[in-house]
Subunit: 485 residues, 4 copies
C-alpha cells in the first residue's frame, strides 16, 4: 500500500481491538480518549511528514528488500548515511511534536533483529533471518508502527529470571505447540504501546543457559488475544480532561506509557525470531540498546522547543537583551548541540555488520545517551530560570475565562503592551509542560531511564573504553619499558 497518511494511520488504529485499562476502567474508544489522543497525534506526525517533500529525504528510504520507498521507521540501515539520517529524523520529530513520538523503538527492534537473526543462522544453520525478512516485508508494505518491548517486570532485582519466586517476573515461554509458542509475563514502561499495530518482544537482559525459557523474541499484532494494556499516569495527565487547552501547555501532542501484560499469549512460529538461543541474547540486548540509545536524538528536538519557549518568554517579558539572559540561552543551546554531536557521531562512526545491516558505534551511542541523562535536566532548570516563578503560580485557564477574575488576570499578568497576556500564559504553560508536566515525563525521567538507566551506560563505557591500549600509550610516554605481546 505504500506510505500511509496520518488519516489512514488513525483509521487503521480504529480497527484494532485492544484491551486497555485506564483510571480503573476499560477504555471503549482508545483513539479518541482525550488522554491518549495527543500521543496518537505524535505518532501520526511520523506518517504526515513522510509526505512532505522537504522532509522526504530523511523521512523515507528505499527498502533493501522491496526497492520501494518506505517510511524510514520501517527501514533497515544500509549505510552510515542511513544512520546519520536516523539521528536527524529524531531531532526533526522532537521539534515538531515537543514530545516522544514513540515510533523509533520499533525501528530499533527491527534493526537489532536483522543483525541477530542473521548471526544465529550463520552459527546454527537456522532460518530465522528469512523469517525475519518476511515479517519485515509485511511491516514495510503496510507501513506499520511497531512497539519494541523489552523491559520485564523483574521482581526481586537480586535474582536471575529462573530463580524468581514468581516465574513470570520475566516474560517466558510457558509451552510449545506444533504451531508456535505460548508466552506469559509483562513488559513495563511501553511508550506508545496502544498506538502500535505490532508489538516486538525482546529479552531484557543477557540470559544464561538456566534462563533459556526466558530467551525468546517474537512479534505479535498489538491486539493479539491475551494482551492487556494498563495505562500509566503522567504528571498533570488529567489536564487533558479539562475544558480548554491552555493549561495543557503543548496543545496538540503528548505521550503515554503502558504496562503490557501477556496472559498466555500464542505466537505462531513464523513470528518467533529467537527461541532458547540464550547465547545470542547478549548480542540482541546490546545491539538494540545501542540503536535505542542513539534514538535519544529526539530529545535534541524537544530541547529546541524548550529553547524557543525560553527565548519567547524572555522577549514577552522584555528582558531578552539582558546579558545574563542571553548567556543562559547560549548555555541551553550549547548543551543541546552537545547532545546533537553525540547522536551524529555515533552514527557517523557506524559500521556494517556481517549481514549488511549498519550499526552505530557502540561506545559513542552509550556516551550520547549518558549525556542525555544529564543535560536535559540542566536545560530544564535554565528554562525555568528564564521563565520566572509565574510558571508555577499562574491561575487556571478557567480563572482567565471567568468574568469575575479575567479582568484582574488580564491586567496584572500583562507585560509588554504589544504582547497579548494569553500568549504569555500559553508559553509559560508550555515550559511547565516540558519541565514538570506530561512532557517532563519524556524529556526528563525517560531521558534518564529510557534505553537503559545511567549505570547501564557506564558499564558499557567501561567495557568499551579500551583501557589496555590507553595504558600502553601512557607507559610508553612515561618511559616505562613494556613487555612485548
Amino acid at each position: 500500500m505504500g506510505l500511509m497518511t496520518a488519516e489512514q494511520y488513525e483509521e487503521s488504529l480504529r480497527k484494532l481491538n485492544l484491551v486497555v485499562y485506564q483510571y480503573g476502567k476499560r477504555l471503549e474508544n482508545v483513539v479518541d480518549d482525550p488522554v491518549i489522543r495527543p500521543s496518537m497525534r505524535a505518532v501520526a506526525k511520523t506518517y504526515e511528514l513522510a509526505h512532505h517533500p522537504e522532509h522526504a529525504d530523511i523521512m523515507t528510504a528505499t527498502s533493501h528488500i522491496s526497492g520501494n520507498r518506505i517510511n524510514r521507521f520501517t527501514h533497515i540501515h544500509q549505510s552510515v548515511d542511513d544512520l546519520v539520517k536516523k539521528s536527524r529524523i529524531g531531532r526533526l520529530l522532537g521539534r515538531e511534536t515537543g514530545c516522544c513520538f514513540q515510533r523509533c523503538v520499533g525501528m530499533d527492534a527491527l534493526n537489532a533483529l536483522s543483525i541477530v537473526t542473521y548471526a544465529i543462522d550463520e552459527k546454527n544453520d537456522t532460518s530465522y533471518y528469512n523469517r525475519f525478512l518476511k515479517y519485515l516485508e509485511y511491516v514495510q508494505a503496510n507501513d506499520l508502527t511497531c512497539d519494541g518491548a523489552m523491559t520485564d517486570a523483574k521482581g526481586d532485582r537480586s535474582l536471575p529470571p529462573s530463580r524468581q519466586p514468581d516465574p513470570d517476573a520475566y516474560l517466558h515461554v510457558v509451552r510449545e505447540t506444533t504451531d508456535g509458542i505460548v508466552v506469559r509475563g509483562a513488559k513495563a514502561h511501553q511508550t506508545g504501546a496502544v498506538n502500535s499495530h505490532e508489538i516486538i518482544v525482546l529479552p531484557t537482559l543477557s540470559m544464561r543457559a538456566e534462563d533459556s525459557a526466558y530467551a525468546v523474541s517474537f512479534a505479535l499484532p498489538s491486539d493479539a488475544e491475551g494482551i492487556v494494556y494498563i495505562i500509566g499516569r503522567q504528571s498533570c495527565d488529567t489536564r487533558k480532561l479539562e475544558e480548554g487547552t491552555l493549561d495543557r501547555g503543548n496543545v496538540f501532542f503528548g505521550g503515554h506509557e503502558a504496562l503490557v501484560v501477556f496472559e498466555d499469549v500464542f505466537v505462531p512460529w513464523e513470528r518467533v525470531f529467537l527461541f532458547g538461543e540464550h547465547e545470542f541474547t547478549g548480542l540482541l540486548v546490546e545491539s538494540f540498546a545501542a540503536y535505542h540509545r542513539q534514538s535519544y536524538a529526539c530529545k535534541v528536538g524537544v530541547g529546541d522547543v524548550l529553547i524557543g519557549a525560553a527565548q519567547t518568554v524572555a522577549e514577552y517579558n522584555g528582558i531578552e537583551k539582558a546579558a545574563h539572559i542571553r548567556d543562559k540561552i547560549v548555555e541551553m543551546n550549547h548543551l543541546n548541540e552537545t547532545l546533537y554531536c553525540g547522536c551524529i557521531a555515533c552514527a557517523s562512526q557506524g559500521h556494517r555488520e556481517a549481514g549488511g545491516t549498519y550499526l552505530v558505534d557502540i561506545l559513542l551511542a552509550n556516551v550520547h545517551k549518558h549525556n542525555i541523562t544529564r543535560f536535559p535536566y540542566e536545560i530544564a532548570r535554565i528554562a525555568q530560570d528564564i521563565a520566572g516563578g509565574l510558571m508555577v503560580t499562574l491561575p487556571s485557564e478557567q480563572d482567565l475565562r471567568s468574568p469575575e477574575t479575567a479582568k484582574w488576570l488580564q491586567k496584572y499578568l500583562k507585560t509588554r503592551a504589544d504582547v497579548p497576556t494569553e500568549n504569555r500564559l500559553r508559553i509559560l504553560r508550555l515550559i511547565e509542560n516540558l519541565t514538570l508536566g506530561t512532557a517532563a515525563v519524556g524529556y526528563l525521567t525517560e531521558s534518564l531511564h529510557g534505553a537503559g538507566s545511567p549505570q547501564a551506560q557506564r558499564v558499557m563505557i567501561f567495557r568499551e573504553g579500551n583501557l589496555a591500549n590507553k595504558i600502553k600509550l601512557a607507559k610508553s610516554l612515561a618511559g616505562i619499558r613494556q613487555k612485548a605481546k
Copy 2:
C-alpha cells in the same frame, strides 16, 4: 493568649472572611477546600511543634517586648543564636512537612521592618518604630501567621513603577485620608496567602524619588475589604480532588500560591510602616531579601525527605548496597548538607543592627540562596535516577484498586517478597510529588525564584564581594607596588 494549638489555628482561619477564587469560581469554604487544606496543615505544623517539648527550644522564643514565650515565627532575632535557630527551624519543618510551610515570610517581613522602622526614626525623628512594636505585640500576643507580600505584577520590565502604562503594575497609594491611606495594585506568587491572618506589604524594589507613591509598607488583616485572592495552579494539583491518597505522593501536606489583588484597600495610619520614604526602600528590600534567602533552610529539610525516599526505594528494589546507588545517596547528602552549611553560616556570621535586631551576613545569605537555585535540581535528578522509570509510568491508584487490574499490578509491580507492592508505589509517588508534582513547585521552581531569582543573588554577590581588598592582596603577593591610600 499565648501559643495557639494547631486546632485553634484552624478554628481561627474559619473566622476569616476571605475572598478567594480558584478554577474560575469563588470558594465558599477555604479551610476545607481539598486543594488548599494540605497547605493549611503545613502551617498548622508550625503551631503543633511549638507544643512539643523536644522542639520547644527552637520552635519558641522569649519576646523582647513582652518577655512571654512566643512562637519563633513571630520573634525578632535578639542574638546570633536566634539566627541559627531560625535556620534549624526551617530544616525541621521542611522535614516534617516535605513542602513549604509558608510561615517564614511573615517572620522575615517583621524582622526587616524592625530594622527599617528604627532606621527611619533615627534619621527623620518619626515614630514608625513604636507603631511597629505595637503591631508586633499584637501579632505575638495572638500568635498570628503573617504573609509577607513583596512581588508586584511589574508590567513592562523595562520601565520603572511611575512610568508604567498601567500605574497599578506596582502597588501604590492612590489617596491619603485623615485616618490612613488607600492602596491599589497586586502582589504575585503569595505562598500561603489564604492561610494567613495578616498580610504585611513591602515594596518590591528600591524606589527613587519619582516613585515615592510606590514607597509604602503596611499590614492588614488578610480579610480586609478589597483584598481578593486568586489561587495559582500547581503541577498535579487536581490529584488532591481525586479519591484515594496514594497518587498525591505526600499524603498530608502541600502548598499553594495566590495572586493577591488590592482593590482600593484602606489602611489605617497605625498600620503604615513606611510612607513615601523612598530612600529607605533599598534597606527594606535588602534586609528582607537577606532574611528570606536564609529562610531557604527549609529546602534542606525537604531534601532530607527526598533522600529518605530515594534510599527507601533502593531498599524496596533490593539494590541499596550497589556501589553506584550508595554513591548517589552520598552525593545527595553531600549537596544537601552543603546547603545546610550555607544557612548556618550566614546566621553564625550575623550581626546586631542599630536597634538591636540581629541580621544575617548578607553576602553569605545570598550565596546560600544561590546554591538553593542549583542543588535541589541535581538532588531531584539523582532521586529520579534511583527511583527508576516506574515513577512516571505507574498506573493510577484506581487501577490498583480495580478488581480487573489489581491482580496484574500486584503481581508485576512486586519486588522483594517482604515489601508490600503498595508501599513501593507510595514511595514512588512521593518522589514524583517532590520532583514533578505539587511539591516540585516548592522544591524546585520556588527554590529558583523565591526570595529573588538567581541573577538577584549574583548582583548582591558582586556588590558584597569586596574586590578592592582582594586586588590589594593579589598585588601585594605579586610584588606590585601599590599606592598608599
Copy 3:
C-alpha cells in the same frame, strides 16, 4: 620530493636561519636546544606516522592539485570524509605524543585561505586563488610545516586597531613597494613557531574600512629577514635542562610557544593572499576559527594518555577494582568521548563551499571547542584524584639516584611487590606533566584559549543558534497564532 621522513624533517630545520631568544639569550642551535627539542620531536611524529602503513589512510591524502600522495596536514579537504579524517588524525597524534604536535594550525590556515581567496576572486575578479594554489603546490611538494599566525598583541582591548596608541599593536602594512609589502607587528602565542618552515599570517579579527591597513594575509619562510622569535616559558620548562628524564613526565615530547615579532618584514606579492579587502576578514577569521576549533580533536588523544596513566597508577597502587576508582575511570572516558563526538559531528555535518573546499559545521565546531574549554579540566582533576597526593610531594630523580636517599625512597615509595618503584614514580610524573607541568599548558590552558577563548565560542553559538526558528516551534505547540511571513 614526496613525503618527508622524520629525519629529513629534522635536517630541513637545521637549514633554517631563525632568530630565536630564550631566557634572555639568542639560541645558537634551535634544533638541539633541550627545551625546544621535545616539541620538534612531536612535529616529527606527523612525518613519521605518514610512513606507517596502518596509519596511511588517515595520515595522507591525494592532492587535489597534483594528484600526488601528500601528508594530510598540507591537504585541502575535498569531502566530508576528509573532514572526519582530520578529526581522527588529531586524536591519533595526541595519543602518540601526549602533547600539542603543532602542525594543525597551518593546515587550518591553508584551508581557510582556500575558501577566502576563492571568494574574493569571485566578487572582485582578482587572482588571489591562483596565487594561493601555487603556494599550496609548493607546500605540498616539499611537505612543509606551516605556522598559522593569527593572534595580535592587541594593546588596549577597548580600542580598534587603527585607534591604538601604538599602531603596531596589530600587525599591519607599513608600506607598499612594486615587489610587495612591508609589514610590522607581532603575533603572540605561536605554538610550534620555531619548528615551522613557513609562517602564514592571518588577521586576528574582522576589520572595518578604517582598519584596512590591518586587513592583510600572507605567507613567509619562517627565517625571513626581520622575523624574531621569543620563546615563552612553560610551567616546569627547566626540568628539560636537568639530568635524567624521570622528572619530565613525558620523556620524549613537549611543546613550545613563541612571541613572533615582525620588524618591517618584506613580503613579495606572490605570497600576499589578502590585502585591504577588509570585508573578507570576517569570513577568513570565521572559517579559520571553525577549522581550528575542530582541531582540538587532539585533546581527546591527550585525554586517552591521561586516562591510561590514571588507570596505570590505580593498578600500581592495587586499587583499580575499587568501585569508586572504576567509576572515576568511566567518567574520564565518558567526558573524553563526549569531546570526540564533538569533533566527529562537526566534520560529519560539514559541507562544500563554493570553490570546492569542505568546511566543518560552524555551530558544532564551536560547540566542540567550547566543551574543550571545560572537560579537560575535570578529567585532569579526576586524574589527580586517582593519582594520590604523592604526585606533588615526590622527591626529585636525583634523590632517587643518590646513594644516601635511594634506599629510603625505594623502600617507602614501594607499593605492590611486582611493581618497580621507579615505574610508579614515572607514571606519577606523567600525570603531573599533564595536569600541572609543561603539557598542562597545552592540555588545559591552551584548551581554554587556543582557537579562541570561551566567550568567542559563546558569541558564535548565539549567532548560529537559529532562535527565530526555535521560537516558531514553541509558539506553534503552545497554540499561539503566528503571523505569516
Copy 4:
C-alpha cells in the same frame, strides 16, 4: 617566653639540627635555602600577625591551662567561638600568604590528642591526659610550631599494616625500653616539616588488635636523632633558584612537603600519648580528620588572592566591565564563599567533648572538605579563563631584562597606557603560580588529598548521613505504616 616574633621564630629554627635532603644532596642551611625559605616565611606569618592588634582577637587565645595569652595555633578549643575563630584564622593567613602556612596541622593534632588521651584515661585509668597537658604546656610556653604526621608509606594498599611484606610500610614500635620506645617507618607528604620545632605522630588509620604495634602516637623534637627529611619537589620549584622574582608569581611565600623517615628513633615515655590502645585509634583518626578537614578554611583565603588576581588582570586588560567577565568574577566569589560557609558551619555546629575540648560537627567538616576537593579546580579554571593565554606563553623575566628583547616585550605586551607592562606580567605569573606552579600544589592537589582524599569524605558522609531517620520521614509522608520501635 610568651608569643614569639617572626624574627625569633626564624632564629629558633637556626638552632635545629635537621637532617634534610633535597635534589640528591644534604642541605647545610635549611633556613636560608632558597626553595624552602618561602615556606618558612609563610609559617613566620603566623607569628607576625599574632602581634598585630587588629588580628589579636583571632590570632591569639587564652590558654586553658596557664591562663596566658598564647598563639591560637597552640590552643585547645574551649568553645564554639574558638572553633569559628579557627576557621577565620585559616582564611586570614591564606589571604596573607597565598599558600599553605603549615601550622594548622599541629594544632589539629594537639586538639585530637586532647580528646583521645582524655578518653583513654576515662576508660583505662591511665594518665595519658596529664602527660599530654604537660607537653601542651611546653608547646604553648615556647610558642612552638608542630608538624602533625599521619600518612604512612602504606605499601600494598590491599593489605593491613601487620601483613605487609615490609613491616615498616606503616610506622611502628620496634622495641620498648624502660625509658621509652623505639619506632621505625616513614610519614609521607609532611607539609612544612622542616619549619617545625616538633613532630607529633599519629596512626594513619583505625587499627585492629593484630596491628597493635602500629597503634602509637607520640611527639618528638623535629631534630631528634634518626629523623631524616627528604624534600618533595613541586611544579616550578626551581624558579626559586633563578635570578629575579617575577617568574615565581608569589614573590614571598610558598610551601614544601617532605618524606619523613624514622630510623629507629627513641621516644621517651613522657612523650608517648597512645601505645597499643588500638581501639582508640579510630577515635584519634576521626577527630584529627574532622579538625583537619575544617582547616581547609585556608583555601578560601587563597581563593581570595586568586579572585583578586583575576580581577586585576581583567582591569589591566581593560575588560573588567564586560558582562561575561563580571559574571565569572561572581562565580569565583560564589564558589569561594560557599567554601567559607562550610568551614564556618562545621565550627558553628561544634560541640563539647567529655574532657572539655570542643570538636567541630563531623558531618559538616567532611562536607566542607569534600567541596574543597572540587571548587578550587573550577575557580582556577575561571581564573585562567580571565587571565588569557599569555599566562602560559609569557617569556621569562630574563627576556624582559635583556637589552635585546626587552623593547619588544615592553612594546607588545603593553595593554592600557596607565598599566606598567611589568605589573601585568607579575599578576599573570601569580595566577600561573596558583593554578599550575608551586602554589597549585597546595591550592589544587593538596585540596584534593590533604586531610584525606575525596573518597574518605564520602565514606564519612555515608556513615554520618542518618539514613534511618530520613527513611522514617519519607515513609511517614508517603502514608506508609511503620513499625513502632
